[in-house]
């Protein structure tokens, strides 16, 4: 390892990927045009729930430029499987979740507006789109199930094999202990909460381009996706029955994901199925209205949460009842988000001794709901941090004080909901956040605002998240149908430059920079000598991809382990050449040296010796310098932090402005602070978008999406997001060699509760629903008066 003065670790290294993005040289899926390219347009259901009576494709087939039109019946006739869900959840009675068939193109019935009904392939997109309008579909419209809270009582059924529209009724924790604690509690705080439904809106629409190669009966799929190996596995093994060895999935530059590009979608599956039949490559890029209809949505929970306390405000037990909307079909991670990634996080930063959570997941005639930035953990944090603030109000304690009374202070700490926090210092982040937010000066600011007729409020959110998914054995016990390790390969070239292949995927996170910093540091070579390759199953050995803030903690660790194998082999090569014992070779600053002497070889000299093995221990070692590693973490990582938000409300209009937003996070060690700050800022903007602006709205009767464009769905603009004050505190993760925890989702997890806590503090009410639009705030003020 290099000495710290030269180390790129902890440096604000400017991103290596930026030049191509800044000059228009990025290569996103839609930028790729293959020889013989054709285009697809999908016919989508205009109804939330309907029986397909008849489809006539003849007029479309006769349209100019059209090459093929396929329906669900065509695909089903070839024995294609159902799009699978990756996580099996059991109800509390032990029965498995209901997993209705999820066809690639609808068969018999459509179950949400936007569901695929047919695919039209043509010489160009305009011809495909023109022809798609000529596909005649006769529907018998059925009653739609739309609302989350009442879905179980609806008369209509989304799936005949899911009675009461219930997918599962999952519970977690010690119910008897919780009931006993509530029976003897001095005080109880209770909140009814809605976690509003969101539409992710990565700025690059989803896109795919599938090509069949006749010469070797194989496929290449370019797709805007966060985890190409998982995409390949699910599509090949579960749906299309293609050997994985015959499928190469490439996720080139990807323009943001936020979860929405994790999943196996029907569109790219249909393209792969069709390309062999058409005999030419087929491309599809979502129009934005398709993104609104057909990218998996996020959140959509209705919850009642209660906390039992003693007379000093110590938390004794927590009871949570949630109804979670999974939409019309179970998407890839849909069942894990409101359970494993939610219920296990309800301890937050607190020593609550007993927690019980029950989650009823319901099917509705809406777009499938799955992971969106934070995935379950924002929902959990919103419940915990809103409830804790309510506890403070019930107990008439300062919000910071009630948190301090209940903070976990000793580690490792086993929560009553199944996690073991390895490290943390929650008071340290709270102290720093309060200092930066000048909490001491708040009463004066509030009084000054009052003189101007304005309402000022302060709100906290002390979040925790479980990142670095995940120990495979634990995930397996919890229902995961996949492992959750990560893979890395380090290929040293004869000249000493290095190519690193990672199973993680970067779609904005800057892996090409951060991972290169890690490798350059460990090998003691210039960062420019390190290339990072990701997003291609044809080049990267394996991978589980990027989600759950896992890239550096899991993917980075796999790379470190491969690098360490390189160094170990390098020492043996150096020992042979330098005629020393293996154990006498030290490696530092990119040099192999015989301890205590000036006899040394540079990293490049050892690399050359490995590939030109004229003087090489061929009896003991293979030539070459190329190593793989798979890393399966032993625990989750637990990033945590304290956010403090200060708002001012104009009671005349309900307009709320964020006067200050302070975020102090503990991500463990930080490789590139510039990139980490960018992740937090972006996460906070998405969290504030949820809290202030964003709401997916369906017509409650017809199930039509009413917020189906950027004109109708309010995404945060530059004028909506305040300046954010950031700092960090560090307790290194104890179980990975980098000591890192993950930072990609924290902002989206921690910020909504801080904002709503500040707003309800300003207005003096218990709850204001997200998004807290001026109208809602104004109504709350009127109701109070």
């Amino acid at each position: 390892m290099t000495d710290m003065s030269n180390s790129p670790i902890g440096q604000r290294v400017v991103r290596r990927e930026d030049k191509r993005f800044l000059t228009g040289a990025g290569r996103y899926t839609d930028d790729i045009v293959l020889p013989g390219q054709t285009w697809a347009c999908f016919v989508r259901s205009p109804h939330a729930h309907a029986r397909i009576v008849r489809i006539d494709t003849a007029p479309a087939l006769a349209s100019p430029g059209v090459l093929a039109v396929y329906t669900g019946e065509d695909i089903a006739a070839t024995g294609v499987g159902s799009i699978p869900c990756g996580w099996l959840i059991h109800s509390k009675d032990g029965s498995p979740m209901k997993e209705p068939a999820h066809p690639v193109l609808a068969v018999g019935k459509v179950r949400y507006v936007g569901e695929l009904v047919a695919i039209v392939v043509a010489e160009d997109y305009a011809s495909a789109k023109d022809a798609a309008e000529l596909v005649e579909v006769e529907y018998e419209v059925l009653e739609a199930v739309v609302d989350t809270a009442s879905a179980e009582k609806a008369t209509a059924l989304v799936h005949d094999d899911a009675p009461n529209n219930l997918c599962f009724n999952w519970s977690h924790g010690d119910e008897a202990a919780v009931e006993a604690a509530f029976a003897s509690a001095s005080h109880v705080a209770r909140l009814d909460l809605v976690n509003n439904r969101l539409i992710p809106n990565a700025i690059e629409p989803r896109a795919a381009n599938a090509e069949y190669h006749r010469h070797d009966d194989s496929y290449t799929l370019y797709v805007a996706n966060q985890n190409p190996h998982v995409e390949r596995l699910l599509m090949c093994a579960f749906v299309l029955g293609i050997p994985e060895s015959k499928m190469r999935v490439i996720a080139p530059d990807v323009g943001g994901g936020f979860g929405s590009k994790i999943f196996l979608y029907a569109e790219e599956t249909a393209l792969v199925w069709a390309t062999r039949r058409v005999g030419r490559p087929i491309k599809w890029t979502a129009e934005r209205s398709e993104s609104f209809l057909a990218d998996c949505h996020g959140r959509d929970h209705v919850t009642t949460a209660e906390m039992a306390m003693d007379d000093q405000g110590h938390f004794k037990a927590m009871r949570v009842r949630t109804t979670a909307n999974v939409g019309a079909y179970l998407s890839t991670f849909a069942s894990s988000v409101p359970t494993i990634l939610y219920g296990t996080l309800l301890a937050g930063q607190y020593r609550t001794p007993a927690i019980h959570v029950e989650v009823r997941a319901v099917f509705t005639n809406t777009t499938p709901v799955d992971a969106y930035r934070g995935a379950g953990r924002p929902e959990a944090t919103y419940v915990v941090e809103r409830l804790v603030e309510q506890c403070a109000r019930v107990m008439k304690l300062a919000p910071a004080e009630i948190r301090r009374r209940n903070f976990i202070t000793e580690f490792p700490y086993a929560t009553p909901v199944g996690l073991s926090y390895d490290t943390g210092n929650y008071a340290a982040t709270l102290d720093r956040a309060m200092e930066l937010a000048d909490v001491a000066g708040f009463p004066a600011r509030k009084a000054e605002a009052a003189r101007r007729g304005k309402l000022r409020g302060l709100g906290y959110s002390c979040y925790i998240e479980a990142c670095g998914l995940a120990p495979s054995n634990i995930a397996g016990q919890l229902g995961a149908r996949a492992g959750l390790f990560e893979a890395g390969e380090v290929r040293v070239h004869p000249t000493g430059t290095v190519t690193v292949f990672t199973g993680s995927h970067s779609h904005g996170q800057g892996h090409e920079t951060t991972f290169a910093q890690v490798v350059a540091d460990r090998l003691g070579i210039p960062i420019d000598n390190v290339e990072i390759v990701h997003g291609d199953t044809g080049r990267v050995p394996f991978g589980l991809g990027t989600y759950g803030s896992r890239s550096l903690a899991v993917g980075g660790t796999a790379i470190v382990k491969a690098v360490d194998k390189i160094i170990a082999k390098g020492r043996k090569i150096a020992a042979h050449i330098l005629e020393a014992a293996d154990d006498d070779i030290e490696f530092s600053n990119g040099e192999f040296r015989v301890a205590g002497t000036d006899r040394k070889l540079s990293f490049g000299e050892v690399a050359l010796a490995a590939y030109v093995p004229h003087n090489f221990p061929l009896d003991k070692l293979e030539p070459g310098l190329n190593e793989n590693a798979f890393y399966d973490p032993t625990n989750f990582t637990y990033p945590a932090g304290s956010y403090v938000c200060e708002v001012e409300v104009d009671p005349e209009t309900g307009t709320t402005t964020i006067e200050q937003f302070v975020a102090v996070d503990d991500f463990g060690n930080i490789i590139n602070p510039m990139i980490v700050e960018g992740q937090v800022q972006g996460g906070i903007a998405q969290g504030l978008g949820q809290a202030m602006l964003e709401q997916c709205v369906y017509d409650p009767d017809s199930g039509q999406l009413l917020t189906g464009s950027m004109l109708d769905y309010a995404l945060p603009r530059a004028t909506d997001i305040p300046r954010i004050v950031l700092d960090t505190r560090c307790t290194p993760c104890t179980h990975n060699p980098l000591g890192v925890k993950g930072c990609g989702e924290a902002g989206a997890i921690g910020s909504p509760a801080a904002f709503i806590n500040a707003l309800t503090d300003a207005v003096g009410v218990t709850d204001i629903r997200m998004p807290a639009t001026p109208e809602r705030v104004w109504q709350a003020i009127q109701a109070r008066a």
Binding site: L22, T23, G508, P716
Partner: protein
Amino acid sequence: MEQKTVNLTVNGKQTTLAIDPRTLLLQVLREKLGLTGTHQGCDTAQCGACTVHVDGRAIKSCSILALQVDGRSVTTIEGLAQGDELHPVQEAFRECHGLQCGFCTPGMVMSVVALLAENPKPTEAQIREHLEGNICRCTGYQNIVKAVQHAAGVAA
């Protein structure tokens, strides 16, 4: 559909194309000229990823027919840098980490170049106001605003 002829000067290069009259400027740039740095992010002129300059003014190329700019001069993100030397706004985005996934970036940069041509020393409020027509989902705009201030040489 009957083809029409359009004459454009794109990044200083004169070009004549026969196109379907319904072709958008964005489609001509991406599909006919291979200038894929200009991106389509939405269908409603909201996101600004498609922003280019026509005769020096920033416009959204997804919402204008190529025929409407017949005979005019178009600059795309590919035409901004001088060889290997980035335009000061590009350089500022890089130094300030004003981009993450890069998809909105070309439109952001073109929009900012137009802003600074019109108002070389904008206030933070003016910068944020100007950026209302460009959506970024990654950065929370913090470092984009910083990059504009950096490029303009005004204090952050």
